[in-house]
């Protein structure tokens, strides 16, 4: 009797003897990021996105033909060893076009996301945190921007820019897509304005600007990241949408331009599926991957979405039976 409890006690007693060193925990955002990567949905999203990013980065190495050499190849060749994705009706190599289009579309997506996210964070956090007149003015502008119908506005602005290149498209999309996100950030910043830790920082004699940057903004990282991801997909989609309508320069290779050409070249009628499938599928896949990443972030940052602990089947049965007996 007296021997039994002693055996398990001994290893426990030796534990405090271990040298205790001061550990510096990983910052919380790193821990969160690690958890996002462990989320299967987000992981799939990251893998798909990484694939496209790699294609975009190594475009010149992957391209099998000269992208500037237009109309020099036999038109409407189905996929073969020489033309991996076949050729277009205008005599271009689809694979080369697609590889360079990936580069254009992704970079436009990222640039739009940077502009829109930065604008939404600056305007949203500033107006929400400051309140008063600043907030009234910024909020009024935001509401006007929200009320204006998005697509017609973008089409209208774009059509005023003759032969709009990528940069023009980036600015048009970036400058029109911030209001919704800014409103969200304003609402969040407003809830932080009266939190005790912000008041305490204010009492510490720090400026509002420092408090926004150091106290409020780090707390909104998941929201900012979320906005950034959504804005990438919006940028890619918006670019494809504008190009498909034939707005802007048709000479830059992009997924939207490829679709536009396929449409104009009657690809569907001629059964040239290899012409429009690569850009169409790419848009779908990239937006899908970004959506999956967003879901992953959401699941990590929102504790209410976390799945309950999976219990062993026997235990679950037992609990169910017990609940049944209680008449629940």
């Amino acid at each position: 009797m007296s021997d039994q409890p002693q055996a398990p006690v001994q290893p426990a007693a030796s534990q405090p003897a271990l040298p205790q060193k001061i550990r510096r925990p990983r910052p919380q955002w790193l821990q969160t990021l690690a958890r996002v990567f462990r989320e299967p949905k987000a992981l799939i999203g990251f893998i798909i996105l990484a694939l496209f990013i790699l294609i975009a980065i190594f475009a010149p190495l992957l391209a099998t033909h000269d992208p500037m050499q237009e109309g020099a190849l036999p038109p409407l060749q189905p996929p073969s060893k020489q033309f991996l994705f076949g050729t277009t009706g205008y005599g271009d190599d689809v694979f080369t076009q697609w590889v360079y289009a990936t580069r254009t579309s992704l970079s436009i997506g990222f640039q739009v996301a940077v502009i829109a996210t930065a604008l939404s964070v600056i305007l949203g956090v500033y107006s929400g945190f400051k309140g008063g007149k600043v907030d009234a003015v910024v909020n009024w502008v935001t509401q006007v921007m929200l009320v204006l119908p998005g697509y017609p506005l973008i089409i209208m602005i774009s059509s005023y820019i003759p032969n709009a290149g990528s940069e023009a498209i980036v600015w048009v999309l970036g400058l029109t897509s911030w209001p919704g996100a800014a409103r969200m950030k304003r609402a969040q910043a407003m809830t932080y304005r009266t939190r005790d830790f912000v008041l305490a920082a204010k009492l510490g004699g720090f400026s509002d600007f420092r408090n926004m940057l150091a106290e409020v903004f780090p707390n909104m990282m998941s929201l900012v990241f979320n906005t950034f991801i959504s804005m990438i997909s919006w940028g890619i989609f918006g670019e494809a949408f504008l190009r498909f309508l034939g707005i802007g320069s048709t000479h830059t290779p992009s997924w939207g331009n490829m679709l536009n050409q396929a449409q104009n070249g009657n690809a569907l009628m001629q059964g040239a599926w290899w012409w429009f499938i690569p850009p169409g599928l790419s848009i779908t896949l990239v937006i899908l991957s970004l959506t999956l990443i967003n879901y992953g972030i959401d699941e990590v940052s929102n504790p209410r979405l976390q799945k309950p602990l999976k219990l062993p089947k026997a235990l679950r049965r037992k609990l169910q039976a017990a609940a049944g007996e209680e008449g629940m």
Binding site: Q28, L203, G204, P218, N219
Partner: protein, 336 residues
């Protein structure tokens, strides 16, 4: 202590807020004509129930609220209507605040060291290794040993009591003369409340700090407070030395509060008429406690009772006690 100028000197402070009602907006006065002095090294305990204006008053001392009228002098300077941010910063170098909720008063994404380091650097001018040492020293002063280890922790790794100690360390980092402690122990576990109060007491002696200790717990107010001020509906009901007020409460509201304090053994006679919240709207008349008071008289509903001295340093605002009226009280009270 009586010879020196009080550090905080408030006279007839009135704070108004606009509230929206069904019939348009009206003004409420959560703090209505409150006067008090607190010297450095002295603790004034502010007692009252929810909505009595004690937190509003506390936040006014650090000028998170601006008084509507009256005057507020802190450290010999009039800060009643100070608006310039440089002057406010100067004020907040002297007066700091400890918040009620230790879970909301620390930024979840910043480590404890990140909370304290900018403050110490800004207000005490330490840099480099001296800064790290000072932060660790501060944490050890508030009882977080070893300070070096506490500094690398994040708020979610600490208990409520430890967080409140960090909040106190943060207030100390500025080297203040006065601390507004807004219910610093009410959200803590009962077993560690006394420790935090002892810590505040020790800091008072070590740094010659003055406190405005806001609480709704008369027992802790008596333990920690040198003087006590009972607030109801934004008005001072009774004020005096803590022992005198708790030992021989004169005002029916203080008696009611005391009888609700567990373990005190004080019971009062007379029924409580109702438990409605006091009317805070501007233009109210009479004593805010009249609708609940067992000693209520006609005069109570019309005339605001003045704060009258009943003893040395013990003032009460009650018609029934100070006998401002010819009417006799309805019920006799006898504190046991």
């Amino acid at each position: 202590m009586s010879t020196e100028q009080p550090f905080v000197r408030a006279r007839d402070l009135v704070i108004r807020f606009r509230v929206k009602t069904d019939h348009g907006s009206r003004w409420i006065t959560p703090v209505d004509g409150v006067s008090f002095d607190v010297s450095a090294g002295e603790v004034l305990a502010l007692v009252g129930e929810s909505g009595s204006g004690k937190s509003t008053l506390g936040r006014t001392l650090v000028r998170l609220n601006e008084p509507t009228s009256g005057s507020l002098q802190i450290g010999g300077r009039d800060v009643t209507h100070t608006r310039r941010s440089r002057d406010l910063k100067e004020l907040r170098r002297q007066v700091q605040m400890v918040f009620q909720d230790p879970f909301g008063s620390l930024n979840p994404v910043r480590s404890i060291g990140q909370h304290l380091r900018p403050l110490v650097r800004k207000h005490q001018g330490f840099t480099g290794q001296a800064l790290e040492d000072k932060v660790a020293e501060l944490l050890e002063i508030v009882g977080l040993q070893p300070g070096v280890e506490a500094a690398v922790k994040y708020p979610h790794e600490m208990s409520g009591g430890q967080r409140q100690r960090v909040a106190i360390a943060r207030a100390l980092a500025v080297n203040p003369t006065f601390i507004v402690a807004d219910e610093p122990i009410s959200m803590l576990d009962v077993s560690i409340r006394a420790d935090i109060l002892k810590l505040l007491n020790r800091l008072k002696d070590a740094f010659h700090l003055g406190y405005l200790y806001i609480t709704h717990d008369l027992a802790s107010a008596r333990y920690f407070g040198d003087r006590l001020m009972v607030l109801y509906g934004g008005q001072v009901m009774e004020t005096g030395d803590a022992d005198a007020v708790v030992g021989a409460p004169k005002h029916p509201y203080t008696q009611l509060l005391l009888s609700a304090t567990a373990g005190h053994g004080f019971t009062r006679k007379g029924d409580v008429l109702n438990i409605d919240a006091p009317n805070l709207f501007e233009g109210r008349k009479g004593c805010p406690f009249a609708h609940r008071c067992p000693l209520v008289m006609d005069v109570c509903r019309d005339v605001r009772p003045p704060l009258t001295a009943v003893d040395k340093g013990h003032q009460v605002a009650c018609h029934a006690v100070t006998g401002a009226s010819v009417h006799t009280p309805v019920v006799e009270t006898s504190p046991s």
